[in-house]
Symmetry: C5
Protein backbone atom coordinates (compact mmCIF):
# COMPACT_ATOMS: atom_id res chain seq x y z
CA UNK A 1 0.00 0.00 0.00
CA UNK A 2 1.04 3.62 -0.21
CA UNK A 3 -0.06 7.02 1.06
CA UNK A 4 -1.53 9.30 -1.62
CA UNK A 5 -3.21 12.69 -1.79
CA UNK A 6 -6.62 13.03 -3.41
CA UNK A 7 -6.23 15.86 -5.90
CA UNK A 8 -9.09 15.40 -8.33
CA UNK A 9 -11.68 13.23 -10.02
CA UNK A 10 -12.47 11.55 -13.32
CA UNK A 11 -15.82 11.41 -15.10
CA UNK A 12 -16.43 8.66 -17.66
CA UNK A 13 -19.98 8.25 -18.96
CA UNK A 14 -19.23 5.45 -21.41
CA UNK A 15 -17.84 2.61 -19.38
CA UNK A 16 -17.99 -1.09 -18.51
CA UNK A 17 -21.48 -1.68 -17.00
CA UNK A 18 -20.30 -2.82 -13.57
CA UNK A 19 -18.43 0.47 -13.09
CA UNK A 20 -21.60 2.62 -13.17
CA UNK A 21 -22.07 4.45 -9.86
CA UNK A 22 -18.51 4.12 -8.60
CA UNK A 23 -16.60 7.31 -7.76
CA UNK A 24 -13.21 7.61 -9.47
CA UNK A 25 -10.62 9.86 -7.83
CA UNK A 26 -7.27 11.18 -9.03
CA UNK A 27 -4.66 10.23 -6.43
CA UNK A 28 -0.97 11.13 -6.30
CA UNK A 29 1.38 8.85 -4.32
CA UNK A 30 3.44 10.66 -1.68
CA UNK A 31 6.74 9.65 -0.13
CA UNK A 32 9.02 10.86 2.63
CA UNK A 33 10.92 13.98 1.55
CA UNK A 34 14.42 12.57 0.89
CA UNK A 35 16.16 15.85 1.79
CA UNK A 36 14.87 16.52 5.32
CA UNK A 37 12.59 13.52 6.03
CA UNK A 38 10.27 15.93 7.85
CA UNK A 39 7.27 15.89 5.53
CA UNK A 40 5.59 14.02 2.69
CA UNK A 41 6.21 15.08 -0.92
CA UNK A 42 4.62 14.01 -4.19
CA UNK A 43 6.26 11.31 -6.31
CA UNK A 44 4.98 13.06 -9.43
CA UNK A 45 2.91 10.07 -10.44
CA UNK A 46 -0.84 10.09 -11.17
CA UNK A 47 -3.25 7.20 -10.56
CA UNK A 48 -7.01 6.70 -10.51
CA UNK A 49 -8.59 4.85 -7.56
CA UNK A 50 -12.13 3.86 -6.61
CA UNK A 51 -13.46 5.58 -3.48
CA UNK A 52 -15.89 3.79 -1.16
CA UNK A 53 -15.23 5.95 1.92
CA UNK A 54 -16.44 9.36 0.76
CA UNK A 55 -13.03 11.02 0.61
CA UNK A 56 -12.74 14.75 0.06
CA UNK A 57 -10.40 16.69 -2.17
CA UNK A 58 -7.03 17.29 -0.48
CA UNK A 59 -7.27 14.35 1.89
CA UNK A 60 -4.45 11.85 2.35
CA UNK A 61 -5.52 8.26 1.87
CA UNK A 62 -4.20 4.72 1.90
CA UNK A 63 -4.30 2.96 -1.49
CA UNK A 64 -4.18 -0.76 -2.15
CA UNK A 65 -3.29 -2.03 -5.63
CA UNK A 66 -3.70 -5.22 -7.63
CA UNK A 67 -6.13 -8.07 -7.07
CA UNK A 68 -6.50 -7.03 -3.41
CA UNK A 69 -8.42 -3.96 -4.61
CA UNK A 70 -11.28 -6.43 -5.06
CA UNK A 71 -11.21 -7.53 -1.40
CA UNK A 72 -13.65 -4.90 -0.10
CA UNK A 73 -17.43 -5.52 0.03
CA UNK A 74 -18.18 -2.82 -2.58
CA UNK A 75 -15.49 -3.79 -5.11
CA UNK A 76 -15.63 -7.61 -5.13
CA UNK A 77 -16.53 -8.05 -8.79
CA UNK A 78 -15.23 -4.80 -10.28
CA UNK A 79 -12.56 -4.58 -12.99
CA UNK A 80 -10.37 -2.29 -10.85
CA UNK A 81 -6.77 -2.42 -9.62
CA UNK A 82 -6.71 0.38 -7.03
CA UNK A 83 -9.05 1.32 -4.18
CA UNK A 84 -8.90 3.63 -1.17
CA UNK A 85 -8.97 1.55 2.04
CA UNK A 86 -8.49 4.31 4.62
CA UNK A 87 -8.37 8.06 5.25
CA UNK A 88 -5.04 8.94 6.85
CA UNK A 89 -5.11 10.77 10.19
CA UNK A 90 -1.38 10.85 10.97
CA UNK A 91 1.90 9.62 9.53
CA UNK A 92 4.88 9.27 11.86
CA UNK A 93 8.43 8.89 10.54
CA UNK A 94 11.63 8.73 12.61
CA UNK A 95 9.48 9.40 15.70
CA UNK A 96 8.18 12.73 14.38
CA UNK A 97 4.76 13.56 12.96
CA UNK A 98 5.24 14.26 9.24
CA UNK A 99 1.52 14.51 8.52
CA UNK A 100 -1.43 15.39 10.73
CA UNK A 101 -4.91 15.63 9.21
CA UNK A 102 -5.96 18.19 11.82
CA UNK A 103 -3.32 20.69 10.70
CA UNK A 104 -3.58 20.11 6.96
CA UNK B 1 -6.02 2.51 -12.85
CA UNK B 2 -4.60 5.35 -14.90
CA UNK B 3 -5.66 7.77 -17.60
CA UNK B 4 -4.13 7.11 -21.02
CA UNK B 5 -4.46 8.45 -24.54
CA UNK B 6 -5.27 6.10 -27.40
CA UNK B 7 -2.62 6.84 -30.03
CA UNK B 8 -2.59 3.77 -32.24
CA UNK B 9 -3.26 0.10 -32.81
CA UNK B 10 -1.50 -3.24 -33.18
CA UNK B 11 -2.23 -5.98 -35.71
CA UNK B 12 -1.11 -9.53 -34.94
CA UNK B 13 -2.35 -12.29 -37.23
CA UNK B 14 -0.49 -15.15 -35.57
CA UNK B 15 -1.68 -15.26 -31.98
CA UNK B 16 -3.08 -17.33 -29.15
CA UNK B 17 -6.49 -18.64 -30.36
CA UNK B 18 -8.59 -16.94 -27.68
CA UNK B 19 -7.24 -13.53 -28.76
CA UNK B 20 -8.78 -13.71 -32.25
CA UNK B 21 -11.29 -10.89 -32.78
CA UNK B 22 -10.13 -8.65 -29.95
CA UNK B 23 -9.04 -5.10 -30.82
CA UNK B 24 -5.59 -4.14 -29.52
CA UNK B 25 -4.87 -0.44 -29.02
CA UNK B 26 -1.66 1.44 -28.32
CA UNK B 27 -2.21 3.55 -25.19
CA UNK B 28 0.12 6.05 -23.55
CA UNK B 29 -0.33 6.78 -19.81
CA UNK B 30 -0.78 10.46 -18.99
CA UNK B 31 -0.11 12.28 -15.74
CA UNK B 32 -0.63 15.73 -14.29
CA UNK B 33 1.92 18.17 -15.73
CA UNK B 34 4.34 18.58 -12.80
CA UNK B 35 5.29 22.15 -13.81
CA UNK B 36 1.90 23.91 -13.90
CA UNK B 37 -0.57 21.15 -12.90
CA UNK B 38 -2.98 22.62 -15.45
CA UNK B 39 -3.05 19.83 -18.02
CA UNK B 40 -2.25 16.18 -18.65
CA UNK B 41 1.09 15.22 -20.23
CA UNK B 42 2.43 11.91 -21.50
CA UNK B 43 4.63 9.77 -19.25
CA UNK B 44 6.52 8.58 -22.32
CA UNK B 45 5.52 4.98 -21.77
CA UNK B 46 3.76 2.74 -24.32
CA UNK B 47 1.32 -0.06 -23.50
CA UNK B 48 -1.12 -2.25 -25.41
CA UNK B 49 -4.68 -2.65 -24.08
CA UNK B 50 -7.76 -4.55 -25.22
CA UNK B 51 -10.68 -2.35 -26.24
CA UNK B 52 -14.28 -3.47 -25.67
CA UNK B 53 -15.87 0.00 -25.80
CA UNK B 54 -15.14 1.04 -29.38
CA UNK B 55 -12.63 3.78 -28.55
CA UNK B 56 -11.40 6.10 -31.24
CA UNK B 57 -7.89 7.37 -31.95
CA UNK B 58 -7.02 10.37 -29.75
CA UNK B 59 -9.49 9.58 -27.01
CA UNK B 60 -8.54 9.55 -23.33
CA UNK B 61 -9.44 6.34 -21.56
CA UNK B 62 -9.27 4.63 -18.19
CA UNK B 63 -7.02 1.54 -18.10
CA UNK B 64 -7.08 -1.27 -15.56
CA UNK B 65 -4.07 -3.59 -15.26
CA UNK B 66 -3.33 -7.04 -13.88
CA UNK B 67 -5.75 -9.85 -13.11
CA UNK B 68 -8.62 -7.32 -12.89
CA UNK B 69 -8.34 -6.88 -16.66
CA UNK B 70 -10.19 -10.20 -16.78
CA UNK B 71 -13.14 -8.90 -14.75
CA UNK B 72 -15.20 -7.63 -17.69
CA UNK B 73 -17.75 -9.86 -19.51
CA UNK B 74 -15.74 -9.85 -22.76
CA UNK B 75 -12.30 -10.55 -21.26
CA UNK B 76 -13.01 -13.21 -18.62
CA UNK B 77 -10.83 -15.95 -20.04
CA UNK B 78 -8.33 -13.95 -22.08
CA UNK B 79 -4.56 -13.94 -21.50
CA UNK B 80 -4.47 -10.15 -21.12
CA UNK B 81 -3.23 -7.77 -18.42
CA UNK B 82 -4.70 -4.43 -19.55
CA UNK B 83 -8.15 -3.39 -20.71
CA UNK B 84 -9.99 -0.12 -21.29
CA UNK B 85 -12.85 0.22 -18.77
CA UNK B 86 -14.06 3.72 -19.61
CA UNK B 87 -13.83 6.64 -22.03
CA UNK B 88 -12.86 9.77 -20.10
CA UNK B 89 -15.17 12.82 -20.37
CA UNK B 90 -13.45 15.14 -17.90
CA UNK B 91 -10.53 15.15 -15.48
CA UNK B 92 -10.54 17.66 -12.64
CA UNK B 93 -7.40 18.46 -10.64
CA UNK B 94 -7.05 21.07 -7.88
CA UNK B 95 -10.65 22.16 -8.66
CA UNK B 96 -9.84 23.03 -12.28
CA UNK B 97 -10.73 21.10 -15.44
CA UNK B 98 -7.44 19.77 -16.86
CA UNK B 99 -9.14 17.68 -19.57
CA UNK B 100 -12.49 18.02 -21.28
CA UNK B 101 -13.43 15.61 -24.07
CA UNK B 102 -15.64 18.25 -25.69
CA UNK B 103 -12.72 20.61 -26.25
CA UNK B 104 -10.09 18.06 -27.23
CA UNK C 1 0.58 -5.85 -22.58
CA UNK C 2 3.50 -4.36 -24.42
CA UNK C 3 5.33 -4.74 -27.71
CA UNK C 4 8.79 -6.30 -27.41
CA UNK C 5 11.53 -7.48 -29.75
CA UNK C 6 12.83 -11.03 -29.48
CA UNK C 7 16.61 -10.65 -29.27
CA UNK C 8 17.80 -13.92 -27.77
CA UNK C 9 17.21 -17.03 -25.73
CA UNK C 10 18.00 -18.60 -22.37
CA UNK C 11 19.04 -22.19 -21.68
CA UNK C 12 18.54 -23.59 -18.18
CA UNK C 13 19.06 -27.32 -17.73
CA UNK C 14 18.44 -27.41 -13.98
CA UNK C 15 14.94 -26.12 -13.43
CA UNK C 16 11.54 -26.65 -11.85
CA UNK C 17 10.15 -29.89 -13.40
CA UNK C 18 7.08 -28.33 -15.01
CA UNK C 19 9.32 -25.96 -17.00
CA UNK C 20 11.03 -28.76 -18.97
CA UNK C 21 10.37 -28.41 -22.70
CA UNK C 22 9.29 -24.76 -22.68
CA UNK C 23 11.22 -22.31 -24.86
CA UNK C 24 12.51 -19.24 -23.02
CA UNK C 25 13.20 -16.11 -25.06
CA UNK C 26 14.97 -12.87 -24.24
CA UNK C 27 12.57 -10.01 -25.05
CA UNK C 28 13.17 -6.27 -24.89
CA UNK C 29 10.15 -3.96 -24.46
CA UNK C 30 9.87 -1.26 -27.12
CA UNK C 31 8.10 2.07 -26.96
CA UNK C 32 7.26 4.93 -29.28
CA UNK C 33 10.35 7.05 -29.96
CA UNK C 34 9.65 10.15 -27.81
CA UNK C 35 11.63 12.47 -30.14
CA UNK C 36 9.92 11.90 -33.51
CA UNK C 37 7.16 9.37 -32.69
CA UNK C 38 7.89 7.76 -36.06
CA UNK C 39 9.34 4.44 -34.94
CA UNK C 40 9.68 2.04 -32.01
CA UNK C 41 12.80 2.18 -29.81
CA UNK C 42 14.03 -0.06 -27.03
CA UNK C 43 13.29 0.81 -23.41
CA UNK C 44 16.63 -0.71 -22.39
CA UNK C 45 14.95 -3.33 -20.24
CA UNK C 46 15.45 -7.12 -20.55
CA UNK C 47 12.84 -9.77 -19.75
CA UNK C 48 12.43 -13.48 -20.30
CA UNK C 49 9.15 -14.81 -21.73
CA UNK C 50 7.80 -18.24 -22.62
CA UNK C 51 7.16 -18.78 -26.34
CA UNK C 52 4.31 -21.01 -27.51
CA UNK C 53 4.02 -19.54 -31.02
CA UNK C 54 7.41 -20.43 -32.51
CA UNK C 55 8.77 -16.88 -32.68
CA UNK C 56 12.00 -16.18 -34.50
CA UNK C 57 14.92 -13.98 -33.50
CA UNK C 58 14.28 -10.32 -34.41
CA UNK C 59 10.52 -10.58 -34.44
CA UNK C 60 8.27 -8.12 -32.64
CA UNK C 61 5.81 -9.75 -30.29
CA UNK C 62 3.03 -8.97 -27.84
CA UNK C 63 3.83 -9.88 -24.21
CA UNK C 64 1.36 -10.41 -21.38
CA UNK C 65 2.57 -10.30 -17.78
CA UNK C 66 1.39 -11.50 -14.38
CA UNK C 67 -1.19 -14.17 -13.59
CA UNK C 68 -2.69 -13.78 -17.09
CA UNK C 69 0.47 -15.41 -18.49
CA UNK C 70 -1.15 -18.62 -17.25
CA UNK C 71 -4.31 -18.10 -19.32
CA UNK C 72 -3.09 -19.89 -22.46
CA UNK C 73 -3.65 -23.64 -23.00
CA UNK C 74 0.09 -24.43 -22.86
CA UNK C 75 0.95 -22.37 -19.76
CA UNK C 76 -1.98 -23.07 -17.42
CA UNK C 77 0.00 -24.60 -14.57
CA UNK C 78 3.44 -23.12 -15.17
CA UNK C 79 5.31 -20.92 -12.68
CA UNK C 80 5.72 -18.12 -15.23
CA UNK C 81 4.83 -14.42 -15.29
CA UNK C 82 5.35 -13.53 -18.97
CA UNK C 83 4.29 -15.19 -22.21
CA UNK C 84 4.16 -14.22 -25.87
CA UNK C 85 0.52 -14.04 -27.03
CA UNK C 86 1.02 -12.74 -30.58
CA UNK C 87 3.51 -11.99 -33.33
CA UNK C 88 3.16 -8.34 -34.35
CA UNK C 89 2.48 -7.60 -38.04
CA UNK C 90 2.03 -3.82 -37.86
CA UNK C 91 1.98 -1.04 -35.29
CA UNK C 92 0.21 2.21 -36.18
CA UNK C 93 0.74 5.40 -34.18
CA UNK C 94 -0.72 8.84 -34.94
CA UNK C 95 -2.15 7.35 -38.17
CA UNK C 96 1.29 6.34 -39.50
CA UNK C 97 2.83 2.88 -39.70
CA UNK C 98 5.73 2.85 -37.19
CA UNK C 99 6.41 -0.88 -37.62
CA UNK C 100 5.70 -3.27 -40.48
CA UNK C 101 6.86 -6.88 -40.24
CA UNK C 102 7.19 -7.09 -44.02
CA UNK C 103 9.84 -4.36 -44.14
CA UNK C 104 11.77 -5.30 -41.02
CA UNK D 1 10.33 -9.90 -1.76
CA UNK D 2 12.64 -7.13 -0.66
CA UNK D 3 14.42 -5.93 2.46
CA UNK D 4 13.02 -2.73 3.97
CA UNK D 5 13.56 -0.62 7.07
CA UNK D 6 10.63 0.18 9.34
CA UNK D 7 10.76 3.95 9.77
CA UNK D 8 7.28 4.90 10.90
CA UNK D 9 3.58 4.21 11.16
CA UNK D 10 0.22 5.32 9.77
CA UNK D 11 -3.00 5.92 11.69
CA UNK D 12 -6.30 5.81 9.80
CA UNK D 13 -9.49 5.88 11.87
CA UNK D 14 -11.92 5.87 8.95
CA UNK D 15 -11.23 2.73 6.97
CA UNK D 16 -12.61 -0.41 5.36
CA UNK D 17 -14.14 -2.47 8.21
CA UNK D 18 -11.88 -5.51 7.81
CA UNK D 19 -8.80 -3.31 8.34
CA UNK D 20 -9.74 -2.37 11.92
CA UNK D 21 -7.11 -3.58 14.39
CA UNK D 22 -4.30 -4.11 11.89
CA UNK D 23 -1.03 -2.23 12.45
CA UNK D 24 0.17 -0.23 9.44
CA UNK D 25 3.88 0.55 9.21
CA UNK D 26 5.87 2.87 6.97
CA UNK D 27 8.61 0.81 5.30
CA UNK D 28 11.40 1.96 3.01
CA UNK D 29 12.92 -0.60 0.59
CA UNK D 30 16.71 -0.92 0.87
CA UNK D 31 19.20 -2.16 -1.71
CA UNK D 32 22.88 -2.94 -1.90
CA UNK D 33 24.94 0.28 -2.00
CA UNK D 34 25.97 0.41 -5.69
CA UNK D 35 29.24 2.26 -4.92
CA UNK D 36 30.94 -0.05 -2.41
CA UNK D 37 28.48 -2.97 -2.07
CA UNK D 38 29.37 -3.06 1.63
CA UNK D 39 26.07 -1.93 3.16
CA UNK D 40 22.37 -1.44 2.49
CA UNK D 41 21.07 1.99 1.42
CA UNK D 42 17.55 3.33 0.98
CA UNK D 43 15.94 3.34 -2.46
CA UNK D 44 14.10 6.55 -1.54
CA UNK D 45 10.72 4.89 -1.92
CA UNK D 46 7.99 4.79 0.74
CA UNK D 47 5.45 1.98 1.20
CA UNK D 48 2.90 0.97 3.82
CA UNK D 49 2.82 -2.67 5.00
CA UNK D 50 0.73 -4.63 7.50
CA UNK D 51 2.67 -5.95 10.49
CA UNK D 52 1.71 -9.24 12.13
CA UNK D 53 5.07 -9.89 13.83
CA UNK D 54 5.30 -6.97 16.25
CA UNK D 55 8.15 -5.16 14.49
CA UNK D 56 9.84 -2.21 16.13
CA UNK D 57 10.88 1.11 14.65
CA UNK D 58 14.29 0.88 12.95
CA UNK D 59 14.13 -2.86 12.30
CA UNK D 60 14.92 -4.38 8.91
CA UNK D 61 12.17 -6.63 7.62
CA UNK D 62 11.25 -8.81 4.67
CA UNK D 63 8.24 -7.57 2.66
CA UNK D 64 6.05 -9.57 0.31
CA UNK D 65 3.85 -7.77 -2.22
CA UNK D 66 0.78 -8.54 -4.30
CA UNK D 67 -1.79 -11.29 -3.82
CA UNK D 68 0.74 -13.29 -1.75
CA UNK D 69 0.34 -10.68 1.01
CA UNK D 70 -2.92 -12.52 1.70
CA UNK D 71 -1.19 -15.87 2.25
CA UNK D 72 -0.59 -15.46 6.00
CA UNK D 73 -3.14 -16.62 8.60
CA UNK D 74 -3.87 -13.06 9.81
CA UNK D 75 -4.23 -11.43 6.37
CA UNK D 76 -6.24 -14.01 4.39
CA UNK D 77 -9.24 -11.82 3.63
CA UNK D 78 -7.74 -8.33 3.91
CA UNK D 79 -7.63 -5.76 1.09
CA UNK D 80 -3.83 -5.40 1.38
CA UNK D 81 -0.93 -5.76 -1.05
CA UNK D 82 2.08 -5.73 1.30
CA UNK D 83 2.85 -7.55 4.53
CA UNK D 84 5.93 -8.13 6.68
CA UNK D 85 6.82 -11.85 6.64
CA UNK D 86 10.06 -11.78 8.65
CA UNK D 87 12.39 -9.69 10.79
CA UNK D 88 15.86 -9.68 9.24
CA UNK D 89 18.78 -10.86 11.41
CA UNK D 90 21.58 -10.72 8.84
CA UNK D 91 22.10 -9.95 5.16
CA UNK D 92 25.18 -11.35 3.45
CA UNK D 93 26.38 -10.06 0.08
CA UNK D 94 29.54 -11.11 -1.80
CA UNK D 95 30.43 -13.26 1.25
CA UNK D 96 30.49 -10.28 3.63
CA UNK D 97 27.92 -9.29 6.25
CA UNK D 98 26.29 -6.05 5.03
CA UNK D 99 23.67 -5.99 7.81
CA UNK D 100 23.65 -7.50 11.29
CA UNK D 101 20.68 -6.85 13.59
CA UNK D 102 22.91 -7.19 16.66
CA UNK D 103 25.10 -4.23 15.65
CA UNK D 104 22.37 -1.97 14.29
CA UNK E 1 10.67 -13.52 -15.71
CA UNK E 2 14.16 -12.07 -15.62
CA UNK E 3 17.75 -13.21 -15.32
CA UNK E 4 19.40 -12.37 -11.98
CA UNK E 5 22.68 -13.08 -10.24
CA UNK E 6 22.66 -14.67 -6.79
CA UNK E 7 24.89 -12.43 -4.68
CA UNK E 8 23.90 -13.20 -1.11
CA UNK E 9 21.44 -14.48 1.44
CA UNK E 10 19.08 -13.30 4.17
CA UNK E 11 18.58 -14.82 7.63
CA UNK E 12 15.32 -14.10 9.48
CA UNK E 13 14.66 -16.11 12.64
CA UNK E 14 11.37 -14.43 13.56
CA UNK E 15 9.03 -15.00 10.66
CA UNK E 16 5.62 -16.19 9.48
CA UNK E 17 5.41 -19.90 10.45
CA UNK E 18 5.03 -21.25 6.92
CA UNK E 19 8.35 -19.64 5.91
CA UNK E 20 10.43 -21.74 8.33
CA UNK E 21 12.96 -23.88 6.46
CA UNK E 22 12.89 -21.94 3.19
CA UNK E 23 16.18 -20.54 1.87
CA UNK E 24 16.09 -16.81 1.07
CA UNK E 25 18.63 -15.50 -1.45
CA UNK E 26 19.62 -11.98 -2.43
CA UNK E 27 19.27 -11.69 -6.22
CA UNK E 28 20.15 -8.79 -8.49
CA UNK E 29 18.35 -8.51 -11.85
CA UNK E 30 20.69 -8.28 -14.85
CA UNK E 31 20.03 -6.84 -18.28
CA UNK E 32 21.79 -6.60 -21.62
CA UNK E 33 24.57 -4.01 -21.47
CA UNK E 34 23.03 -1.09 -23.42
CA UNK E 35 26.42 0.17 -24.65
CA UNK E 36 27.86 -2.90 -26.41
CA UNK E 37 25.10 -5.53 -25.99
CA UNK E 38 27.88 -8.10 -25.51
CA UNK E 39 27.35 -9.00 -21.87
CA UNK E 40 24.91 -8.84 -18.96
CA UNK E 41 25.15 -5.98 -16.43
CA UNK E 42 23.39 -5.35 -13.14
CA UNK E 43 20.28 -3.15 -13.02
CA UNK E 44 21.31 -1.97 -9.55
CA UNK E 45 18.17 -3.38 -7.99
CA UNK E 46 18.07 -5.85 -5.07
CA UNK E 47 15.40 -8.49 -4.49
CA UNK E 48 14.93 -11.50 -2.23
CA UNK E 49 13.79 -14.82 -3.77
CA UNK E 50 13.05 -18.28 -2.41
CA UNK E 51 15.43 -20.99 -3.64
CA UNK E 52 14.20 -24.56 -4.17
CA UNK E 53 16.99 -25.64 -6.56
CA UNK E 54 20.06 -25.37 -4.33
CA UNK E 55 21.64 -22.39 -6.11
CA UNK E 56 25.14 -21.30 -5.25
CA UNK E 57 26.53 -17.81 -4.72
CA UNK E 58 27.47 -16.18 -8.03
CA UNK E 59 25.13 -18.25 -10.16
CA UNK E 60 22.78 -16.72 -12.72
CA UNK E 61 19.17 -17.75 -12.27
CA UNK E 62 15.72 -17.27 -13.72
CA UNK E 63 13.26 -15.50 -11.38
CA UNK E 64 9.47 -15.54 -11.57
CA UNK E 65 7.47 -12.88 -9.71
CA UNK E 66 3.92 -12.42 -8.47
CA UNK E 67 1.26 -15.06 -7.85
CA UNK E 68 3.10 -17.46 -10.20
CA UNK E 69 5.84 -17.77 -7.57
CA UNK E 70 3.35 -20.05 -5.82
CA UNK E 71 3.09 -22.40 -8.81
CA UNK E 72 5.95 -24.72 -7.83
CA UNK E 73 5.37 -27.82 -5.64
CA UNK E 74 7.44 -26.40 -2.74
CA UNK E 75 5.93 -22.91 -2.69
CA UNK E 76 2.22 -23.55 -3.20
CA UNK E 77 0.97 -22.04 0.05
CA UNK E 78 3.81 -19.64 0.89
CA UNK E 79 3.42 -15.87 1.28
CA UNK E 80 6.11 -15.18 -1.34
CA UNK E 81 6.24 -13.17 -4.56
CA UNK E 82 9.54 -14.33 -6.10
CA UNK E 83 11.10 -17.75 -6.62
CA UNK E 84 14.01 -19.16 -8.60
CA UNK E 85 12.69 -21.49 -11.33
CA UNK E 86 15.95 -22.32 -13.13
CA UNK E 87 19.73 -22.06 -13.06
CA UNK E 88 20.91 -20.35 -16.24
CA UNK E 89 23.46 -22.20 -18.41
CA UNK E 90 23.68 -19.79 -21.34
CA UNK E 91 22.15 -16.54 -22.53
CA UNK E 92 22.29 -15.73 -26.23
CA UNK E 93 21.62 -12.21 -27.55
CA UNK E 94 21.89 -11.05 -31.18
CA UNK E 95 23.24 -14.53 -32.05
CA UNK E 96 26.22 -14.22 -29.66
CA UNK E 97 26.72 -15.88 -26.29
CA UNK E 98 26.58 -13.10 -23.66
CA UNK E 99 26.68 -15.50 -20.71
CA UNK E 100 28.05 -19.02 -20.35
CA UNK E 101 27.97 -20.75 -16.97
CA UNK E 102 31.03 -22.79 -17.86
CA UNK E 103 33.22 -19.69 -18.25
CA UNK E 104 31.84 -17.65 -15.37
Amino acid sequence: MFVAKVTGSVVATQKVDSMVGHKLLIVEPYRIDPSDRGRLVTTGRTFVAVDTLGCGQGEYVLIVQGSSARLTPETKTLPIDAVIIGIVDTVNVDNAKVFDRQNS
